[in-house]
C-alpha cells in the first residue's frame, strides 16, 4: 500500500518537474510546480511529517507560488524567446547533469543498500506539538532571526518595487 502510494506520487512529482523545465510559457511552469509541491506534500505525510506537509501546501503552494503567478501576470511574460546562447551551458550542461544524477544515485544506493523501510506511521515525531516544542526551545535563536529576516525581505521588496517619487 505504501509502496503504491509512493510510486504514484513520485511519478506525478517527476513528471510535473519535467514539465516545469520543459514548458515555454511561465504560467504553465508555475502550475506544474504547484503540482510538484502537492505530490511532495503527500510524500511528507508518508514520512510522518504532518505539520510540514500542511505548511508546504499552505505556505509554499498557496502563498509563494501565488506570488509567482501574480508577478508573471504583472509582467505579462509571454512564451520564452530563443535568443542568447551560452557556450558553457550547451557544452557542459548535459554531461554535468547526467554525472550529477548518476553520482548521487549511486552514492545513495551504496550507503543505503538495504536501509530501513518507510511505512506510514513509522515516525510520530512530526506533529505540530513536537515541532513547536523544538522550535521554542532548541531552535529559539534561528526562529527569532528568521522573523527578522522576513521583516527585511518585506522592507526590501517594498523598496525595490515602489514607484519613484517625482
Amino acid at each position: 500500500m505504501d509502496v503504491i502510494l509512493f510510486l504514484v506520487f513520485a511519478i506525478i512529482a517527476v513528471l510535473a518537474a519535467i514539465n516545469v523545465v520543459v514548458q515555454t510559457h511561465p504560467i504553465a511552469s508555475a502550475v506544474s510546480l504547484i503540482g510538484v509541491m502537492g505530490s511532495l506534500a503527500v510524500l511528507y505525510l508518508l514520512l510522518g511529517a504532518e505539520f510540514i506537509a500542511a505548511a508546504q501546501v499552505i505556505v509554499y503552494a498557496g502563498a509563494v507560488m501565488v506570488l509567482f503567478i501574480f508577478v508573471i501576470m504583472l509582467l505579462n511574460a509571454g512564451a520564452e524567446a530563443r535568443k542568447g546562447r551560452s557556450f558553457m551551458a550547451s557544452l557542459l550542461g548535459a554531461p554535468v547533469l547526467i554525472a550529477l544524477l548518476a553520482l548521487l544515485a549511486w552514492f545513495v544506493e551504496r550507503i543505503y543498500p538495504e536501509g530501513m523501510g518507510v511505512h506510514f506511521g513509522g515516525f510520530t515525531g512530526g506533529s505540530p506539538e513536537s515541532i513547536g516544542h523544538a522550535l521554542f526551545t532548541t531552535y529559539m535563536l534561528p526562529f527569532e532571526i528568521t522573523s527578522i529576516l522576513v521583516l527585511i525581505a518585506i522592507v526590501g521588496a517594498v523598496v525595490l518595487a515602489r514607484k519613484e517619487l517625482d
Binding site: 551560452s86 557556450f87 558553457m88 551551458a89 557542459l92 547533469l97 553520482l103 548521487l104 552514492f107 550507503i111
Partner: protein, 614 residues
C-alpha cells in the same frame, strides 16, 4: 724593528696623492711620491743594518688575519737574506725610477695618478717580498697584477693600451689560478700556509704531492714572470709609459715568480721532476724569446722580449738547483734592464715619441749621456767579461752544465743571440745616419740622467759590490759546481761573437740585414710576427671561449633559460589570466554550469575520501 713601515710608507703616498693629488702642484706630488719611496728605502737600510748578519730569519707578527678551526693565517712579515736582497732591489731601483719619472712624465696628463699608482705598486711589491706566508704573498702578487693593469692602461684613451692591460691581467689570472690550487694543496697537506711551518713539514711529504705543488706554483710563476706559455702579455705591456716598463716589467714585478720559486726551494729540492720542468721551460723560453727579439723594430719590444729571455735564464738557475745564481741574475738584470728601458725612454723622449728603430740612427752625438750609459747596460747584458751580467750569467750556465750539458749549450747560443740583438738595437739607434723626422733631438734633463748614470755604474760593477752567491750560500742548499774556465770562455766568446756580428751587419755593411731578411723571407716573417703565437692563442683559445660564452652562456643560458623563465612566468601568468578571463562571461547560466560541475567534483572527492568508492 717596525717592518710594516716599509710597505706602508708608499701606501701613504698612494693615499695622499690619490685623494688630494688632483689639487696639488707638481712639486707637492713629487715630494709625496718620491719622498715616500726614498723614505722606505732609507728604512730598509736602517732595518738591514740593525739586523746585522741575518743568519736566521727575523719575523714580526702583527695580527691574526684568518682563524678558522685549526687553520690560521697571520699577517706576518719576515726578513732573511733573500728578502734583504729583494728589498734593496725593489726600493733602490724603485726610488731611481720614481726620480726618473719626474722628468719623463713632466708633459703627460694624469701626473698625480701615475705616481699614485706607482706608489701603490711599491706597497704591493714590498708586501709580496716581506710576506712570511703564502697568503700574504698572494695578496701582494694579486696587487702588483692590479697595478700592472692600471699602469699598462695608463693612457686609457688608447684602445691598444687598454687591450694590453686587459691581456696582462687575464693571462696573469690563469697563472694565479695555478697558484691558488697550489695553496689549496699546501693547506690540505700541511695545514698551514706559513713558510716556516710548510718548509719544516715538506721533506716528510710524498714526492708526488710535492711535485704537484711545485708544478702548480710554476704555473703561477709562469704567469707572473712571463714564461712559456703565459708570456704573451709582456710584449704588449710596452703600451704603458716607459718608467712602468722599467720598474714593473723588468726589475720587480716579473721577478716575483723567480722570488717565489726561490723561496719555495725546500719544496722544489724534494721534487726533482718539478725542478727539471722549471729548467726546461726556462731555457725554452730564453731561446724562443731571443729569436723573436732578433727581428723586432720597436725598441721597447726588443727589450721586452729580452726580459722574457732573461727571466728564462733565472728560471734555469732555479731549476738547476743554483738558487743563489738565479737570484744573482735577478739583481743584475734589474740593474741593466732597468737602465736599458730608462735609456730607451730617454731616446723616445728626445725624439718626441718615436719608438721605431728604423727611424733612428746617429744619435750618438746628440744624446751622448744616454748613449754611453746604454752602452754600459748592453755590455752587461751581453755578458762582456767582468760586468755584472757576465758574473751572474756564468754562474747560471755553469750550474746548468752541471745538471744537463744540453741546457748549457742552448744557453750559450742564446747568450750569443742576446748580445747580437742588444747591440743591433744599440747600433741602429746611435750609429749611422739619422733616418728620422724629429725636429731637434735633445738630451734629457738631469733628473732623468742621474738615475741612468747610477744604474750604469751598478751594471758594470754591481756584481762585485754585491757578492750574492756567497751572501745567499748559507740560505740555500750547497751546490758543488766546479769553476770551469773553458766553459766560461766559450760563453763569453759567444757574447763577443754576437757583438761583432751586430757591428758588422749594422755599422760596417748596413745592407746585409735586408739581404738576409729577403733571402730567408719565410723564417724572417715567422720570427718577425712572433711565430704567430698570439694569433694561435686567439684562434684556439680566445675565440672558442668567447664564442662559447656568447652562444651557450649568453644566448642559451642567460637570455634563453633565465630570462625565459622569468619572462615565461610573466607570460604564463598573463596567459592564465587571459584564459580565466573567459570565465567572467557575465552569463548566469554558464556560471551555474560551472557550479554544478564543481559540485560534481566535490561529491566525487568526498566520496573517495569517505571510502565509499572502494
Amino acid at each position: 724593528m717596525q717592518l710594516w713601515l716599509i710597505p706602508i710608507l708608499p701606501l701613504a703616498g698612494f693615499t695622499i696623492n690619490g685623494m688630494f693629488g688632483r689639487r696639488f702642484s707638481k712639486a707637492t706630488v713629487n715630494a709625496v711620491a718620491i719622498g715616500s719611496v726614498v723614505l722606505s728605502f732609507a728604512w730598509v737600510l736602517k732595518t738591514l743594518i740593525a739586523l746585522g748578519v741575518l743568519n736566521s730569519a727575523y719575523t714580526e707578527h702583527y695580527f691574526t688575519w684568518i682563524q678558522s678551526g685549526t687553520f690560521s693565517v697571520g699577517c706576518d712579515m719576515a726578513v732573511d737574506r733573500l728578502t734583504a736582497i729583494m728589498l734593496l732591489v725593489v726600493t733602490g731601483i724603485g726610488s731611481l725610477i720614481h726620480i726618473y719619472s719626474i722628468g719623463y712624465m713632466a708633459h703627460e696628463g694624469g701626473y698625480y695618478r701615475f705616481f699614485a699608482y706607482l706608489n701603490l705598486f711599491m706597497f704591493f711589491m714590498l708586501t709580496l717580498v716581506l710576506a712570511a706566508n703564502y697568503l700574504l704573498l698572494f695578496v701582494g702578487w694579486e696587487g702588483v697584477g692590479l697595478c700592472s693593469y692600471l699602469l699598462i692602461g695608463f693612457y686609457f684613451d688608447k684602445k691598444f693600451a687598454t687591450n694590453a692591460g686587459n691581456k696582462a691581467f687575464i693571462v696573469n689570472r690563469i697563472g694565479d689560478f695555478g697558484f691558488s690550487l697550489a695553496m689549496f694543496l699546501i693547506v690540505s697537506q700541511f695545514g698551514s700556509l706559513d713558510f716556516g711551518t710548510v718548509f719544516s713539514k715538506a721533506p716528510a711529504a710524498s714526492e708526488a704531492t710535492l711535485t704537484t705543488i711545485g708544478l702548480l706554483l710554476l704555473v703561477g710563476a709562469a704567469g707572473k714572470s712571463a714564461q712559456i706559455p703565459l708570456y704573451v702579455w709582456l710584449p704588449d705591456a710596452m703600451a704603458g709609459p716607459t718608467p712602468v716598463s722599467a720598474l714593473i716589467h723588468a726589475a720587480t714585478m716579473v721577478t716575483a715568480g723567480v722570488y717565489m720559486t726561490a723561496r719555495s726551494w725546500v719544496i722544489y729540492t724534494h721534487a726533482p721532476i718539478a725542478m727539471q720542468t722549471i729548467a726546461v721551460i726556462g731555457i725554452a723560453t730564453a731561446f724562443f724569446a731571443a729569436t723573436i727579439g732578433l727581428a723586432q723594430n720597436d725598441i721597447k719590444k726588443v727589450f721586452a722580449y729580452s726580459t722574457v729571455s732573461q727571466l728564462g735564464y733565472m728560471f734555469v738557475g732555479v731549476g738547476c738547483g743554483a738558487f743563489s745564481a738565479g737570484v744573482y741574475h735577478l739583481m743584475t738584470h734589474a740593474f741593466f734592464k732597468a737602465l736599458l728601458f730608462l735609456g730607451s725612454g730617454s731616446v723616445i723622449h728626445a725624439l718626441s715619441g718615436e719608438q721605431d728603430m728604423r727611424q733612428m740612427g746617429g744619435l750618438r752625438s746628440k744624446i751622448p749621456w744616454t748613449c754611453w750609459t746604454m752602452f754600459c747596460a748592453s755590455l752587461a747584458i751581453a755578458g762582456f767579461p767582468f760586468t755584472s751580467g757576465f758574473l751572474s750569467k756564468d754562474a747560471i750556465l755553469l750550474a746548468a752544465n752541471h745538471t744537463a750539458p744540453w741546457i748549457y749549450w742552448v744557453g750559450t747560443i742564446t747568450a750569443g743571440m742576446t748580445a747580437f740583438y742588444v747591440f743591433r738595437a744599440f747600433f741602429m739607434t746611435f750609429f749611422g745616419k739619422y733616418r728620422g723626422h724629429a725636429h731637434h733631438p735633445h738630451e734629457s734633463p738631469p733628473v732623468m740622467l742621474v738615475p741612468l748614470v747610477i744604474l750604469a755604474i751598478l751594471s758594470l760593477g754591481g756584481g762585485y759590490l754585491f757578492r750574492i752567491p756567497e751572501f745567499l750560500g748559507s740560505l740555500f742548499p750547497a751546490q758543488e759546481v766546479p769553476e770551469d774556465f773553458n766553459l766560461m770562455a766559450i760563453a763569453s766568446g759567444a757574447g763577443l761573437l754576437g757583438i761583432l756580428l751586430a757591428y758588422v751587419m749594422y755599422v760596417l755593411k748596413p745592407g746585409i740585414p735586408e739581404a738576409i731578411a729577403s733571402g730567408l723571407n719565410g723564417i724572417y716573417q715567422l720570427v718577425y710576427n712572433k711565430y704567430f703565437v698570439d694569433e694561435i692563442y686567439d684562434a684556439a683559445v680566445v675565440k672558442p671561449v668567447v664564442g662559447g660564452s656568447r652562444l651557450l652562456l649568453w644566448k642559451g643560458m642567460d637570455a634563453g633559460l633565465i630570462d625565459g623563465i622569468v619572462n615565461g612566468v610573466g607570460a604564463r601568468a598573463r596567459n592564465v589570466g587571459g584564459a580565466l578571463r573567459m570565465l567572467q562571461s557575465g552569463n548566469a547560466r554558464s556560471y551555474a554550469t560551472w557550479v554544478a560541475f564543481g559540485g560534481v567534483l566535490v561529491i566525487v572527492a568526498l566520496g573517495v575520501a569517505q571510502g565509499v568508492t572502494r
